[in-house]
Amino acid sequence: MIHSRFLASVALSALMLGATPAISLAETPPDTLIQAWSIDDIISLDPAEIFEFTASEIAGNSYETLIGYDPQNVSDIFGKAAESWTVSEDGMTLSFKMKEGRTFASGNPITAEDAVFSLVRAVKLDKSPAFIIGQLGITPDNADAMIVQTGPMSFDFKMDKPYAPTLVLYCLTATVASVVDKKLAMEHEANGDFGYDWLKTNYAGSGPFMIKDWRPNEAVILERNPNYSGDATPMARVIYRHIPETSTQRLLLEKGDIDIARNLTAEDISALQGNADVKIESGVKGSLYYLGLNQKNEFLSKPEVRQAMKYLVDYDTIAGTIMAGKVKVHQGFLPEGFLGAYNENPFSLDVAKAKELLAAAGVPEGFKVTMDTRNTPEITAMAQAMQQTMAQAGIELELIPGDGKQTLTKYRARNHDIYIGRWGPDFQDPHTNASTFAYNPNNADDATSKPLAWRNAWDIPELSAATDAAMVEPDAAKRAEMYIADQKTVMETGPFVIYAQEIEVMGERKNIEGVIVGPSFNDNSFAHVTK
């Protein structure tokens, strides 16, 4: 039996091989969108656990969060699964009303019960993104008392402090606040895990697409959700193929074997510019590239040295050559597009000024320092460019390459001198970055909270207090001003050389229309794509 089946498949593949030249090679099926992307970062498809770029995007296309915002204008917040909400007088309770008459892909109705279940579940499972809801004073112990259903289509969301309403709402736009089909998930519950084991590789949502299949390091397949409450998607299927080599992605795109290539390098982009079959779509992302200067280092802890380092990066050249088209110069810790983002870039390469500052710091001859560098081509190239400019002021920068896990482990343990990194905001509220770049409540080695300021051993009690205050400021304009002040302080004195903001670039076949490249990965939408 097995033997004959094998023979049959050999015969079939031989036949297909013979037939391929006859059918046109360079065409993807008209109802299927095929993308090439490096999807090796996916570890789970459970919205309560998803915290990776790729999985966020998949969740964004297949689940619905309570609240959404317009990707073109982040400040425009509206209800997605929720119809409306009111804030109580003391500012500590938000009452939500759910939209009527909508169903999950499974056919089950979406009710307040599902919304409460999803949020409580995320907090109780306590996976990486649980802090997004947890920071509002909701713990696994009190979650049942803080998030309560008040009617079939309404529920209350209580907090421990009157946090800024925009902060709370932005938290509820994150992937972790996706509404999960309670009935379906609980059918697969085992040992009180809220269906976590099952949902890791399965789907229980209500978005425009359903997750049909995930084969690690091979492909993810999304299919049109027939029960979606919005307009049915023009594409019946979206397929992500795992193709790690960027040059392979480019060749496939040029040949028309895929519709969208997701990991193009600056060189690929400039080479594709002249190709009539391909167009380049890009959108500003929230991720920032920065250097973290460890304050445990005797040289880097001098304020003048920190300042000098900021004059020794050739911002414009890096953004214009190595990373052309993929980043823009940005120096504040809030990415452009955020509430309170400070978009001035006061620093530029100025070796003379840096030398003056180094002389003032008492190290006119420069010094030797190491930088842990992730061995990806782009990070390595940027690190080498900085090595060259810093050498001009006598700073000998020794690069220590390692894979992402190695360098990050060292960084998290504060054993680095300088770390060249990338930071992506977790949700669209300014607090997400302020709470890491300008917040360090306890600088001790055994601190429980370890934001970026802690990782670089930057002791800032006053700035931490300012960040706490901004978190609960109800007036948006005032809040924005507080964050701008925070950013200026970090620019002047901080141990971060923030030098660029990411631009996501997609190479698309020219017949593809309607891709939305949003500011964060769960905003990238393919629901309206036509071809």
Partner: protein, 301 residues
Amino acid sequence: MTMTRDWLLSDRPVSRRQARLGQIYRTWLDFRTNGLAMFGFLIVLALVLVAIFAPWLAPHDPLLGDLNHTRLLPPLSEGYLLGTDDQGRDILSRLIHGSRITLAVVALVAVIATPVGLLVGTTAGYFGGWVDTVLMRLTDIVLAFPKLILALAFVAALGPGIENAIIAISITAWPPYARLARAETLTIRNSDFIAATKLQGASAARIIWKHIVPLCLSSVIVRVTLDMAGIILTAAGLGFLGLGAQPPQPEWGAMIAGGRNFLVDYWWVATMPGLAIFTVSLGFNLLGDGLRDVLDPKRQK
């Protein structure tokens, strides 16, 4: 000139020195007739000269590039014969300076690994018995690992860097020399002249060092020269994997790794160092081949 030649080729040398120099000169004459070997010799000679005079030969700074103006220029651009890389650095200058690293690796590995291999092999061969068993099983164990993988493991443990790469390669390079030296020693140890030396009261160390090692040397030298190409490739492999020389050092393997991302549009960034590795490896192989021909005692007329 002819006087020197006659003196060298004299069949009645009057001093040991004259005999030895004469022998070397005859070997050289023999070697010179082998065209391919001479070609290899010239490549290696050129490598050595380039390495010595690198700062005077290189037209540009190998570490400093101009990102804004000289990035990824094609070969034969004005002032940049072999083009520039993604950091705007002159590839030719980097190759020239990189020859120093390559030569240093090859020379140091030869200096570290050859004596170790010789010592282990001759000792094992001369004493025999349990000394032989212990030493040769140890050699077998090291030989059982693939070279590059073992070197990788050592570098991972010692930390990346060119010094550690040299140590790692040396650790993996000595066993073949030990094997070779032991085999040679076994054929010599029972000779009459060894027995005579023994009777005169020479110590084991003296016999090994003065009488056995010199006789093993020629075959080991041939083997080392033939291995040079492998050593260069291993060093380049470590550099390619980011475990050898660290940026911005112009190590050839690391240069290929850096150029790999641009291969589709800017072929020269990876191709030029690749050609350099190819040429030098070929040179060492041809040289080793020629040396084997002239140094093999069985081949001599």
